[in-house]
Assembly symmetry: C2
Homo-oligomer: 328 residues x 2
């Protein structure tokens, strides 16, 4: 038996030696990659800075030019804009250190996704995560709205919401680090939602809480339903964007994508607006509640203010996005 | 002016072209690296599996062998153990996908740190983060223990603790993903601390809360002081471990490191044990409090149980670690 094992080990040793060589080759290639990366990064940073300066100079002196210089000036601006676009693409294809919230939470580990397909995969997974959590939250909020009425279960629901929004902040920060154009308001929206859920958590089991609780649960049910619609829209856009970038037979054109996007938005927008009106209504109910004789808790006006800020931010950001899409 | 800008753009264009070439070279090297990585990973996974199987077979048949076969059997076992060690090192030098909690929170982004120096840097930053947070929490807990007595400030402190422990869980998961040998209990300890702080958060402002609050704040002050001592010990170990690995003149020997480690532990251990006794005392006080006539909240026995579990886990894990260090 020992003899057969020794033979097996000898056979394995051949592969082991080539594994060690492959590993050395890997380390060497990694070092080469890091060197190229460093030089690439310093070049692109220098280029970006220079093009930004030249662009600003061109803009500043644009008005002082005579009519005969205008065409040349526009040509230079176009040249600068083209080069800047390529520089930004190259910059985003290189690994960059984390900053701000990501650096605070994760430390100095790179969360750069280097290939387009990795970025698409990551975004798909993010949308799938939101879908599963939305279903869980929908079931939970339906149950607490219709059957279960214990403060502890409400607290568990609020804790789950806090964890969910914090995880979204982390994942969306990683998406933004990798070039996603998520508007800053949507991330701020999550921070405000965390604060709101925190307030609901520490709101004592009082008369005012009982008067607001059912409305909040109904709102949660609607919000989760809305997020199911958003998932349908966003994953549809993502699928078509990916097909646009990958398929060479161009069976899907840019016009085809835009047509789908507009149909999706036409369907989604009324539901979104209803959600924002619901938020404004919550703010109004809480504001009235703060004048109730049996209501002494600061949580009531505080949540009213936050719901109102959420309504304003959501309404104006969505309107701005729709307007810019219309103009494009 | 346009002429001088056009000249500047021409000069920049030379660097721009070489930037594009460098970027293409980067992409090519990255693809090569990924190919080598895939082949390396499949080889090392296969090797690890085979060596594990052979190791298990050797172990199983070890007792059935005659005396004359024993030396050969031990030689084969040593051979397998050596190869497994190298395979584990190679496996840890390759990027691996995240699993479990990291995958849930961050999604599918690689948090592998590939070089030893990156791993050391990451650990140093993690210890520094703990130091800064410990100082902030120390000041906060001193203030709430001595001067400020508002339920809202307590709630803010508890929220900060929840955020701090969750961030530690994320960072320690990243450390473990990159080969750190942090015992599972220390990560579980953080999960339990999050639950404990959550319970303290939703504990209503009642007689029982007022009776426990000051003890908890005093405990927090001691815990943070203890964490300052731990920082001193851990960062000292890390500094010397790094010097051991990096300096070729070996001015620091393995014996020198061990001597420092034992002196550090001798200093730290009494303070640690005092902390664990404090946790057991908290559990006892809460247990007695749950029989108080004015105490109806479930938070009291729940926190008592958690404090007791923390005491048991801390005590036994630390004793186990000290014993294994003594035997080594
Ligand atoms: C209005 C809306 C439909 C527009 O969506 P859109 O067509 O994707 O808009 P944009 O062009 O601004 O999107 C740019 C990027 O931001 C992302 N994005 C937009 N809104 C997002 C949101 N609410 N959460 C996360 N990502 C979002 C898009 O996926 C896209 O990502 P990409 O750059 O990686 O491709 C969308 O912003 C939305 O659903 N808003 C509602 C938010 C909400 O939940 N409100 C609370 C209801 S009570
Ligand atoms: C007992 C103790 C001093 C031993 O420390 P040690 O000498 O580093 O012990 P180990 O050999 O088990 O450490 C192995 C690894 O785990 C890490 N580690 C050990 N305890 C840790 C802890 N509490 N938190 C984070 N990491 C820890 C070490 O840094 C080391 O990391 P590495 O593999 O990357 O080098 C340490 O575990 C400790 O400080 N425990 C007290 C924990 C605590 O806070 N208790 C609550 C007080 S009320």
């Amino acid at each position: 038996m020992l003899l057969s094992l020794a033979e097996e080990l000898d056979d394995l040793n051949v592969e082991f030696v080539s594994l060690q060589e492959k590993s050395k080759e890997y380390q060497k290639t990694l070092e080469t990659l890091r060197t190229i990366e460093k030089s690439c990064m310093s070049m692109v940073t220098h280029q970006k800075k220079k093009y930004t300066q030249i662009g600003q100079t061109l803009k500043k002196h644009g008005k002082d030019l005579g009519l005969e210089d205008k065409p040349r000036w526009e040509e230079l601006q176009r040249h600068v804009a083209e080069k800047q676009k390529v520089c930004v693409e190259i910059h985003e294809s290189l690994p960059r250190p984390s900053e701000g919230f990501l650096k605070l939470t994760l430390g100095q580990v790179s969360v750069s996704l280097l290939s387009k397909s990795e970025k698409f995969d990551y975004k798909e997974e993010y949308e799938r995560f939101k879908l599963y959590m939305t279903i869980i939250l929908l079931v939970f909020s339906l149950a607490t709205a219709l059957f279960i009425d214990f403060r502890v279960c409400d607290a568990l629901f609020h804790f789950l919401l806090v964890w969910y929004y914090c995880t979204l902040v982390i994942r969306e920060s990683i998406l933004r680090h990798n070039g996603s154009r998520i508007k800053g308001w949507w991330v701020l929206h999550h921070y405000l939602s965390v604060v709101l859920c925190g307030i609901l958590l520490i709101w004592p089991a009082s008369v005012s809480y009982e008067m607001f609780r059912n409305l909040f649960m109904a709102f949660s049910v609607y919000l989760n339903f809305l997020q199911l619609l958003q998932y349908y829209y966003q994953s549809g856009c993502l699928y078509r964007l990916r097909a646009l970038g990958e398929k060479s037979d161009m069976y899907l054109t840019v016009e085809g994508f835009q047509e789908w996007m507009w149909r999706g938005l036409q369907f989604l927008l009324p539901f979104l607006m209803l959600g924002y009106i619901f938020q404004a209504y919550n703010a109004f109910v809480l504001f009235k509640l703060s004048f109730h004789p049996e209501c002494n808790e600061w949580m009531v006006p505080a949540s009213a203010i936050i719901f109102f800020i959420l309504f304003l931010g959501n309404f104006f950001t969505t309107s701005k996005v729709m307007l810019s899409k219309f103009q494009a």
